[in-house]
């Protein structure tokens, strides 16, 4: 099975990095999260309800919609904060990429560890610009807001192609497809990674990190 890959690019000012990343990641996760599965007898299950929340951005003229799950929000914010720190510390031109990868686990026999097979990868390329004065910042607020709107439309377009999605799992297999660690929503298994590009445009492998659900641990 081929993993489909989508790339989104944004140019933002330093203060806007957090919110821009949150906006795009949450939009994707909104579509890739379901309610909690409650398995019953006879192989049936019911699905919980997903609530949504509007969040106004402080530095961008934009309102993002995310699932109502504080736990999930915390995880995403933490990842974005690490990415932003790495961007700031890298001393590069401020170019980097954060990736949200959805994967399935495939159990292998001992002693081999489980395989993680990605089925969808979203890469968000960020270019941080520096602005000189308040007027430029004001224009940037609006422009970035419009750009994010276009990206949301792109995301929705891709998702509504209804291409491959993992099959709904049985109870024993649910952890191979979904992240069941949250108490109110259930996103597909995902991981967030990032790369910082140095000024030569090559990726710097020392800044590669993984927020992992498993893989190398076993």
């Amino acid at each position: 099975m081929n993993c489909r890959s989508e790339v989104l690019e944004v140019s933002v000012e330093g203060r806007q990095v957090d919110e821009a990343m949150l906006a795009l990641l949450h939009t994707i996760l909104l579509h890739r999260s379901t309610g909690k599965f409650l398995y019953k007898k006879e192989g049936t299950y019911s699905i919980g309800t997903v609530g949504t929340q509007d969040v106004d951005c402080d530095f961008i003229d934009f309102t993002l919609v995310r699932v109502s799950s504080d736990e999930l929000d915390r995880v995403i914010r933490k990842a974005v904060a690490e990415f932003k720190d790495a961007l700031g510390n890298s001393g590069s031109d401020g170019m980097g990429q954060i990736s949200l990868e959805f994967y399935q686990k495939k159990k292998s026999r001992w002693p081999f560890s489980d395989e993680c097979i990605p089925w969808e990868v979203w890469s968000i390329k960020v270019n941080v610009v520096n602005l000189a004065n308040e007027q430029e910042r004001q224009i940037c607020r609006e422009k970035v807001g419009e750009k994010l709107g276009e990206k949301v439309i792109n995301i929705v377009e891709v998702i509504n192609r209804h291409e491959y999605l993992p099959k709904m799992p049985t109870q024993s297999e649910v952890d191979n497809v979904f992240d069941t660690s949250l108490k109110d929503v259930q996103p597909y298994l995902y991981k967030i990674t990032y790369q910082i590009t140095d000024s030569l445009g090559t990726s710097v492998s020392t800044t590669m990190r993984r927020l992992i659900k498993d893989t190398l641990a076993l």
Partner: protein, 470 residues
């Protein structure tokens, strides 16, 4: 063509489409209310949350949608449209966008109704949630208030896009194939807001100060839950009775099966569903059951991310009498929402000026007479005829009682402005005002020996003092 579809599947599909249409309307209208929307996730389904999404049902909106549908369903050649328009306080109106739920003939026979179609419709609703915050009308709707309001109209039949002006743009939210046709959800939105901008330009002339208007009756309140049909009549299909699908026992699918497709029976329908709750369209209303149904009431959806149940807003009846609207002068960013003396939503409501003492004491509207000094100290400064180069300050200027931001009178006997002014012009030091002349120097020199004699007498004291310091 329909013979391939079992009757149960057909019934399910019709129900899904019906509730999809109703939820679509709810999402669109709620996104134009001008407030942030927030609902809670829940791990235990109640049977009234269609498509596994927490979307509240505003009763008036459901009523309008059902009235427009009149028992029919969106189908091929029968589109359901939600038109969003803007109406200024002067009565000009302009269509902003039209959301269309259409169906075409392209069928997907192999798709599983109760499972795949349902989940894809759920996904489409999520996309709609995201896209409704992205079109230009969203920002306009967030700023609505006294200058303009946002209204909605639902109609059924042919899509009408002529009111959107030239160069309107279109965005497709998504498609879902079903065995009876492909459902498409899209939005056409106006890009030419020329009418709006020229009007605004005329209105925001240089208005000094704050003008307070008291509205006894509010011609329009927070927007969109206002009756849409009051200014436009719907197109066709206005049959009164709701024939066809009964809505008294609607429960959404809450159970799914993980059995292989050939054995799929959707047990959820038969008995897996917990006890039938109150009808879903009233169900959510019963749960939050106190959403008032005043025709001019406030929006029933507070933006409270942490609590699921809406607050009771029964103060509206009383608030109608004491409501006033504040018009803000040019270059002020945010149009303030209507303020009531019993408003619970306005932050720092306690600091909002009371209705009856606004204009009278407002220094912006009534500057104090000039150039009277505002404090006794000010007067004394003026009379101080020192050789200070500042001289007689402010005789040529109109005296305006300067109230610095955030200053309060009750903490200090004088206010900050007076304090500042006063200490900007301090009186001369006494020693500096004495003329330095040779004569005084001579006097100093003469007195020196006497002083020295005294110090020598007390030399022991001085030594003892120095010792204590060491």
């Amino acid at each position: 063509m329909d013979s391939d579809l079992s009757s149960q599947d057909r019934k399910d599909l019709d129900k899904f489409i019906k509730f999809f249409a109703l939820k679509t309307v709810q999402i669109i209208v709620q996104a134009r209310l001008g407030e942030k929307i927030s609902t809670c996730s829940s791990s235990s389904p109640t049977g009234s949350d269609w498509f596994n999404l927490a979307i509240k049902d505003i009763p008036e909106v459901t009523h309008e949608a059902k009235k427009a549908l009149a028992g029919q369903l969106p189908g091929i050649g029968r589109s359901m449209c939600v038109e969003i328009s803007l109406k200024t306080s002067e009565g000009d109106s302009m269509e902003l966008e039209t959301w269309c739920l259409e169906m075409n003939e392209k069928c997907d026979k192999d798709i599983k109704v109760s499972y795949t179609v349902y989940n894809r419709l759920s996904l489409l609703l999520k996309s709609l949630l995201a896209i409704t915050r992205v079109t230009p009308a969203y920002k306009l709707s967030r700023k609505q208030g006294h200058d303009y309001v946002i209204l909605y109209r639902i109609y059924f039949g042919d899509v009408q896009l002529t009111g959107l002006g030239e160069g309107f743009q279109s965005v497709r939210v998504g498609v879902v194939g079903t065995p009876i046709g492909t459902i498409t959800l899209s939005c056409a939105y106006r890009t030419n807001l020329a009418l709006m901008s020229s009007r605004q330009f005329e209105r925001t002339g240089p208005i000094m100060g704050i003008i307070i208007d008291h509205f006894v009756e509010r011609p329009f309140t927070n927007m969109a839950h206002m009756h849409p049909c009051s200014y436009r009549t719907p197109g066709e299909d206005e049959g009164g009775t709701y024939a066809g699908i009964e809505d008294s026992q609607e429960v959404c699918t809450t159970s799914f099966s993980t059995s292989p497709p050939s054995q799929m029976v959707v047990p959820g329908k038969e008995g897996g569903v917990p006890q039938v709750p109150a009808q879903p369209n009233h169900g959510t209303a019963a749960e939050h059951g106190r959403i008032p149904s005043f025709p001019n009431g406030q929006s029933p959806l507070p933006a409270q991310p942490t609590s699921c149940s809406s607050e009771v807003k029964t103060v509206f009846c009383d608030a109608l009498e004491t409501t006033f609207t504040r018009k803000v002068g040019a270059f002020v960013n945010k149009a303030t929402t209507q303020v009531t003396t019993t408003s619970l939503d306005l932050p720092f409501a306690a600091f909002a000026p009371r209705a009856n003492d606004l204009e009278v004491n407002d220094p912006m509207v009534h500057p104090p007479p000039s150039p009277a000094p505002s404090s006794p100290l000010q007067g004394s400064l003026h009379s101080n005829s020192s050789s200070h180069s500042g001289g007689q300050p402010q005789d040529d200027f109109v005296m305006v009682d300067f109230k610095p931001a955030f200053s309060k009178d009750d903490l200090l006997p004088m206010d900050l402005g007076t304090f500042y002014r006063e200490f900007q012009n301090p009186p001369q030091l006494a020693s500096l005002s004495i003329d330095v002349s040779a004569q005084s120097m001579a006097e100093d020199l003469d007195s020196l020996p006497e002083k020295l004699a005294i110090y020598e007498k007390n030399i022991d004291e001085f030594d003892a003092f120095v010792d204590t310091l060491q």
